[in-house]
Symmetry: C2
């Protein structure tokens, strides 16, 4: 056979729903030679990573670590460890990723009740309370940051509702961790999962999770084995917990990467990081709005880091994204599910939440819209962003 | 909190059961900026990776790709996709990792028959034939290269036995791929799994798998959903197959890494690579034997890349390995299961199968043995290795 040539991808600016660009310091540490997964120095690196992850999750949970796979494996870890056949679960869906939780929860043999809101909307606490009181589930699973619509589900009041019925609250924080506040201890979240390639500016490949003491008690009280061996916390907690016993070989280089990503988050400081995401979002939003693009999510519950906007009439989704990619080197996401072909998802996450990215994407989008015959005042997007930055 | 300092591990030579050292070219490509997981250029990289993986697996199987997690997830992928509740499975154990397959197969709800051989031994074809004819299982799972003992299970005749009863043959090739011949098509293996961090000289984080047409037909004939969403091939084959539909976010950087690792394997050539592993093994074996260390596996079925040897009386396992690590920077593996505290496992895999590694580990082991009062003629190990290289 012909052996393919040296790796040589074109430069890209990743402003879709993820992966977002990895920070140069993260990429750089990935060349560090390997340690063994039971080396005392690697175990120290694991401990440091866990302690930093607790800071970023704002939690004291002992069982906090990155799962050795990408974000969806974090989702699966939370659900298959907390649910057994016959258990009751309530899963709320406000978009594509809620539906994924319904599917995964269903595969545990749990009795799943689905709560739905129209795409782009979020649940009011009373809607959740009614369902939880009616079903009395073991687990309630909600999406904190719905990547398909850009909607942010407030969770502050949900933990207290779950306490009334002894329900465990599982939260999908894939697109929120490192971008907006995520506070499992304060909000009463019992299991949260995220990913490495969005707010943490690492490559995809790890799924940070955190479990409360209540969740760990539920885990220890299981009557059946966890259906996944690879994701079985009853044994994994021996490796990421006190005795560091061999379970599976950890992805050493990805642990190096997430350790560096977490260092970057903590060097900046959580509050500064959240504020930066809001500031750049407001500028992007002003610009996109000036270009005539309407957000798909409820304006009272818009994620700063994920901006899903409807395409104007006459704009071809695939052709437009292709031009952004090939001519401007910018990746944005297409719509998923109900929004397929109708929306673009623009992510400014982690290190990509910065004015340079905002201006680049607004400039490129303006060009592409004009190419489809959309009437746009020249420089309208950039000008609006500039004014938003000045006003901030 | 105090933020941990810059990553700064000590130099190591990883001569345990894995991870083995990653090749510098592999580490280097990991700094390549990310592409999106649906970028046309990334899809081309996926295709190239799959085609090279087929060459290394010596297969024409369409469904050949790296699972987005470490080796055990490859094991789980093979078993949970091919087994459903009530199916019959026969799992052969010749060491630690066969037992892991028993556990994983059991979690599918399959009716699992366990065949056992003493640790270090392998199955004769007749033992397998008897069990398969008696049980008529849907799946027979065997370990090709048992990492806990260093034994190599011949598989050449097993595929034909499985055909007699319509049984699918699953093979654990975690420690064999890239080191010794693995020939799914020729041997009639229906599903094989491996890892990135041994014979392919990449960091851990991907699990190459390959499925025959028979296995794909069984997959398509399933009556129930695969219990793991993350590892569900019925949907993953949409991403790693023709339509490249989104399933989960692939670990981009790890795909870059394995692509480079596969290029290195093919540049060297499979036959040259296998011969190199044998040559260095014979030198290592001569040296270890001269130092008085006896192999734990049947001498007729010894893996070249994984050398498990019993410790002489008076040698403390943990203290000895600690000295190897801290004083010589060399990691070797301890014993697992029945061999815990009693054996060391020395891996010379991928790029670490070279004279420099053989001489280094023999020199260091000699020093450590002497430190425990074992009588060793000075330079005995290195001298024996030298003579073996000269004779080769």
């Amino acid at each position: 056979m012909t052996i393919p040539g040296q790796l040589n991808p074109s430069p890209r600016l990743l402003l879709g729903p993820g992966p977002s660009d990895a920070h140069p310091r993260v990429l750089s540490v990935m060349t560090t030679p390997l340690l063994g997964h039971l080396d005392p120095q690697f175990i120290e690196i694991m401990s440091e990573t866990q302690e930093m992850l607790r800071q970023v999750f704002q939690t004291k949970n002992a069982l906090t670590f990155p799962v050795s796979a990408t974000g969806t494996a974090g989702m699966e870890t939370c659900l298959v460890n907390l649910l057994e056949p016959g258990d009751k679960a309530v899963v709320g869906t406000i978009g594509y990723f809620g539906n994924r939780m319904v599917d995964i929860a269903g595969r545990t043999g749990a009795d799943v009740t689905v709560l739905e809101r129209p795409w782009g909307q979020v649940f009011e606490p009373d809607m959740i309370r009614d369902a939880v009181k009616r079903v009395k589930p073991k687990v309630l699973a909600l999406v904190h940051a719905e990547t398909s619509t850009g909607a942010m589900q407030p969770l502050e009041e949900i933990g207290a509702i779950c306490r009334e019925t002894g329900t465990l609250l599982v939260a999908d924080c894939v697109t929120s961790l490192g971008c907006i506040p995520v506070k499992p201890d304060e909000w009463g979240i019992d299991a949260a999962f995220s990913c490495s390639q969005k707010g943490l500016s690492c490559p995809p490949g790890m799924a940070p999770v955190t479990f409360s003491e209540r969740a760990v008690a539920a885990l220890k009280a299981r009557k059946t084995k966890v259906q996944s061996w690879y994701l079985d916390l009853t044994t994994i907690m021996g490796y990421w917990g006190g005795d560091r016993a061999y379970h599976h070989t950890a992805p050493i280089t990805m642990v190096y990467a997430i350790r560096e990503g977490l260092r970057l988050v903590l060097e900046e400081g959580l509050e500064a990081r959240y504020a930066r995401h809001v500031r750049n979002h407001l500028a992007l939003k002003a610009g996109l709005t000036a270009l005539g693009l309407a957000y798909t999510a409820d304006p009272n519950h818009q994620l700063p880091q994920l901006n899903a906007v409807r395409l104007p009439d006459g704009v071809d989704d695939a052709a437009g994204r292709k031009r952004l990619l090939t001519e401007f080197g910018i990746e944005v996401g297409g719509g998923l599910g109900d929004l397929k072909g109708k929306a673009w998802r623009i992510g400014i996450m982690g290190q990509n939440s910065r004015p340079g990215c905002v201006y680049q994407v607004l400039t490129a989008v303006e060009q592409v819209l004009k190419g489809f015959g959309v009437k746009v005042e020249p420089g309208a997007g950039v000008g609006a962003a500039e004014r938003a930055y000045s006003a901030a």
